[in-house]
């Protein structure tokens, strides 16, 4: 199973409607998750064993150094120290008001000042959760600077002018600029946990707890101490530091093989108190061994590999139900605007990208390759953002499969189209009906598409795309490499830097990129975005993305989304769901939280 909680500035919560109405959000219901409720009578107790494949946590302290890239850590940390803003409410891409740590949030001073009221919750040792805990967290993060795994240039804490705690339950954050409250709440505050100052503000195991975090040097010393303790796997369970939690779970066991178990935090203040007695996260070396255990009935919830969807009837007959785990992400193929030998000039032409997208039969990929379990990839926002996807995307996007249109658009722009062969530019120039800037006569529509090896479905999809593109004489040469090799050799290329050593690539498919709760496109499609691998740059796109981040205009997002769908900064592809099988007597698994890979087990229970 892949890790969905990621380390970057991912996820958060709040619907557009809530914030647009008053720039204020507050916790809603008080009797359990506000999304779709589980059915049946809860039975207390029982053990759930959930499979994890190919990796395990190695760091328990929630503030990880920049060098730690183990995404599994968040699966260990967040059930014990949830974020201030909790992303995903059952199956919905919204803030979970019940599990979030704040009861109200208001934006004032031209959206530069945030006033947060904390819920009257307590740490597991009975100490109240207060604004001092937020100050402590802020001080530690600030002391880490760029060596914090969650660091993103320009964002928290670099954009914080000051933080105050006027009362034990109130936090006031003054920012250096105005933000769109939805963006900031959903994508920034959702990455900030609260840490127990009363237990963790110390510089050594034997030393006393103090206010060390209030000086820069003291904060660094505290971070150094906590990171040292937090990386010692052998003491994860026994170290008293990690027994002070504010989430629904406490760590009960952690083995050197990476399997660990949670027990309920009996003093959890939230409404979603765990029903099950033990939650085991069991590690499996590979998908093969995990699926064997699932078929043998040895686990409560586990992954069905996409190659084994034909086993779903067997699993159902063996007492399992099927969970569809949708991923909040965007998938696609990055073009390299700065690819050498004139290829970049070809890919910079919108009509070339349009023709290529017209030739990708996305519905067929969803049905034939992903067996119906995938987001269609109609644009930059996946369908599970039900309140954000525009009618254009819902209707199939601006470029539904249409080979005839692809051929026509190429012919209209000076190309001699050779279906099954390679199309060539016959009308060079920059005028109407000509191939475009930097494209010489005789230039060929031939590209190399690099992608991550190891997944037969992806092999099949890329081969299908290769075949479809041939219909308009667009020749793709496929090249698969291990994911880490691909990432290491395909460099970021843009106007400022496109060295030949790492910018020789033309098209690359890394898979999917996870989104935060507010999929604003910053990072993906803006000129200096971290995910903007191929150097796409469009002032209008930058402006629209800026509006989604910095203005409170609720219409800005839809405008951005439609523009990004139309302009094809990447060729959009379907994004496959993940399929889990879970014991049918376990209730609450569906619908799954798109932002939580372990699906919030505090709402699960067994029935008789």
């Amino acid at each position: 199973m892949r890790v969905i909680r990621t380390g970057a500035a991912v996820a958060a919560a709040l619907t557009l409607a809530v914030t647009a109405a008053a720039c204020t959000s507050s916790s809603g219901s008080s009797n359990g998750s506000s999304g779709t409720q589980a059915t049946g009578t809860p039975e207390s107790g029982g053990t759930v064993t959930m499979q994890w494949i190919g990796g395990y946590p190695n760091f328990i302290f929630p503030l990880m150094p920049a060098t730690n890239t183990d995404g599994y850590n968040e699966n260990l940390q967040e059930p014990m120290w949830p974020m201030l803003v909790y992303s995903g409410d059952r199956g919905q891409s919204i803030v979970n008001p019940d599990e979030s740590l704040y009861s109200a949030m208001s934006w004032t001073n031209n959206d530069q000042t945030i006033t947060i009221t904390l819920k009257p919750w307590k740490w597991s040792d009975g100490t109240p959760i207060t604004s001092r805990d937020f100050l402590f967290t802020y001080n530690l993060i600030e002391s880490m600077g760029q060596n914090w795994s969650g660091y993103l240039p320009g964002l928290f804490p670099g954009d914080v002018k000051s933080v105050q705690a006027p009362s034990a339950s109130t936090i006031v954050i003054n920012l250096t600029r105005s933000y769109n409250p939805v963006f900031y709440t959903d994508n920034v505050l959702s990455a900030i946990p609260l840490l127990p100052q009363h237990a963790w503000d110390k510089e050594s195991a034997a030393g006393p707890v103090g206010d060390y975090d209030e000086t820069a040097a003291g904060a660094k010393a505290v971070v150094n101490f906590l990171q040292k303790e937090g990386s010692d796997i052998a003491t994860f369970t026994t170290n008293p530091l990690w027994q002070v939690v504010d989430g629904p779970w406490k760590l009960a066991q952690f083995t050197s093989s990476g399997t660990y178990a949670f027990a309920p935090n009996k003093n959890y203040s939230g409404p979603d108190k765990p029903h099950i007695a033990e939650m085991i996260d069991a590690q499996y070396t590979t998908a093969d061994s995990a699926f064997n255990a699932l078929r043998a009935g040895d686990v409560t919830i586990g992954t069905v590999p996409d190659d084994d969807y034909n086993q779903i009837p067997y699993l159902k007959s063996a007492g399992y139900s099927i969970q569809v785990l949708q991923v909040a992400a965007v998938a696609g193929i990055y073009p390299n605007w700065y690819a050498p030998d004139g290829v970049g000039a070809l890919l910079q032409q919108l009509y070339v990208r349009q023709a290529m997208e017209d030739l990708i039969n996305r519905p067929q990929i969803v049905q034939q390759i992903y067996h119906g379990y995938a987001d269609p990839g109609n644009g930059p926002v996946s369908m599970n953002y039900t309140t954000l996807t525009t009618p254009l995307e819902k209707a199939g996007g601006p470029y539904p499969y249409n080979p005839g249109k692809a051929v026509a658009v190429l012919k209209a722009n000076g190309w001699q189209v050779n279906p099954g062969g390679v199309s060539t530019c016959v009308k060079p120039g920059t005028g109407s009906g000509e191939c475009g800037a930097g494209i010489a006569a005789g230039a060929k529509l031939a590209f190399t598409l690099e992608y991550s090896a190891g997944d037969p479905d992806v092999d099949e999809m890329e081969a299908a795309i290769q075949t479809w593109e041939e219909q308009a004489g667009i020749k793709l040469t496929l090249k698969s490499e291990p994911f880490n090799t691909l990432v290491g050799t395909v460099g970021v290329c843009n106007a400022q830097s496109h060295p030949a050593s790492s910018c020789g690539w033309q098209l690359v498919d890394f898979g999917y990129e996870p989104y935060g709760l507010y999929p604003a496109g910053s990072g993906d499609f803006n000129t200096d975005g971290l995910d903007n691998q191929g150097g796409y740059s469009n002032p209008e796109m930058d402006s629209l993305i800026n509006q989604t981040e910095y203005s409170g205009n609720p219409a800005a997002f839809a405008t951005y989304e439609n523009f990004a769908a139309d302009q094809l900064p990447q060729l959009y592809l379907p994004d496959p769901d993940y399929i889990n099988a879970y014991k049918s007597d376990l209730v609450g698994v569906q619908p799954s939280n798109p932002f939580s890979a372990d699906n919030d087990p505090e709402v699960w229970y067994f029935t008789k």
Partner: protein
């Protein structure tokens, strides 16, 4: 003998240092950015810089090698880029498991296949020999992956007699406490090894049985049982010693297929995943360990030759 050992150990040190240098150079010739391959496509320039500084990757290659050599001679194999744990800790968790699994399965396979090979040689082309030959050929040609999956499907999924996984503890004692969970991985390795060993043993025993000195033994009135166990078995065993000696470095490679199918955290998958993830410290450490074990395995085989075959004499220079 002592001079011979000293010379071989000297050679071994040279070989290990050579392996270290070659591996270090080859790994660092890998194209692309290590930092980016570990940190991912969202890695900021500052994060890449922190990573390179943390692991010394911002220094010239010769200095990196010097630092690595220095830390190795101080017993430090470095820290895994991806798992963020000392490489020696990761090896210490996995190597004993592989030694146990591969060691016991090899011993069991030898105990079965050696007499079986001799028996087949004596009963050459008889019904029993043909039956065993067919069986061992079937096992030999069957991919281990497929064979392991068959065992799991039958005994774990269909019959529910045995668990589909190996024991999950990292201690050998813990594994012995769960013998049922050991059965399927052991069975997979034993049966696939028996196939190879018994074929070698059979061929070797057939050659031995044709030797003139056996006629002398029999002419001197030695019983057939003594001829077989004292002379045929001992002399036929030499090729097996070579095979077993060469398999010692395989401990570092682990039993990757068994690890894959039976959820067994061993050296094989650790090395494989490190190779995919560009986790250089693990790759370097495993290769170094593999070099050391290769040398030890060969040395042990050479010494065993001398014990088994009195004609072999050690020469110190």
């Amino acid at each position: 003998m002592t001079a011979y050992l000293i010379r071989r150990i000297g050679q071994a040190v040279g070989v290990v240092i050579g392996v270290m240098i070659l591996t270090f150079i080859l790994i660092h010739m890998e194209p692309g950015s290590v930092a980016r391959s570990i940190l991912g496509i969202r890695a900021t320039a500052s994060r890449v810089a922190i990573f390179n500084a943390t692991y010394g990757l911002d220094q010239p290659l010769y200095k990196q090698f010097w630092n690595y050599t220095d830390q190795v001679f101080h017993g430090n194999l470095g820290t895994s880029y991806y798992q963020q744990q000392p490489v020696s800790t990761l090896f210490a968790q996995r190597l004993p498991r592989d030694i146990f699994l591969l060691g016991t399965s090899t011993v069991i396979a030898l105990v079965i296949s050696v007499p079986m090979g001799v028996y087949q040689a004596v009963r050459r082309n008889g019904i029993a020999d043909n039956l065993l030959t067919s069986t061992t050929f079937t096992l030999y040609t069957m991919p281990t992956f497929f064979f392991a999956m068959l065992l799991v499907s039958l005994f774990a999924v269909q019959l529910h007699w045995l668990p589909p996984e190996a024991p999950q503890t990292t201690s050998v004692a813990g594994m012995l406490a769960d013998p049922k969970a050991l059965l399927l991985p052991e069975l997979t390795l034993v049966l696939t090894q028996i196939a190879g060993f018994s074929r070698y043993m059979r061929s070797s025993a057939i050659d031995t049985l044709a030797q003139e000195y056996l006629k002398v033994c029999r002419a001197k009135g030695l019983g057939e049982r003594l001829v077989l166990w004292r002379h045929v078995l001992r002399n036929s065993f030499l090729p097996i010693v070579t095979i077993v000696g060469l398999s010692v470095p395989g401990l570092v490679g682990g039993a990757i297929i068994v690890e894959d199918i039976f959820n067994y955290q061993g050296m094989g998958l650790l090395f494989y995943q490190a190779a995919l993830q560009h986790d250089f410290p693990i790759l370097l450490g495993a290769t170094l360990l593999g070099g050391v074990l290769t040398v030890i395995g060969n040395l042990a085989a050479d010494i065993a030759y001398g014990i088994l075959d009195p004609r072999v004499r050690y020469v110190g220079k």
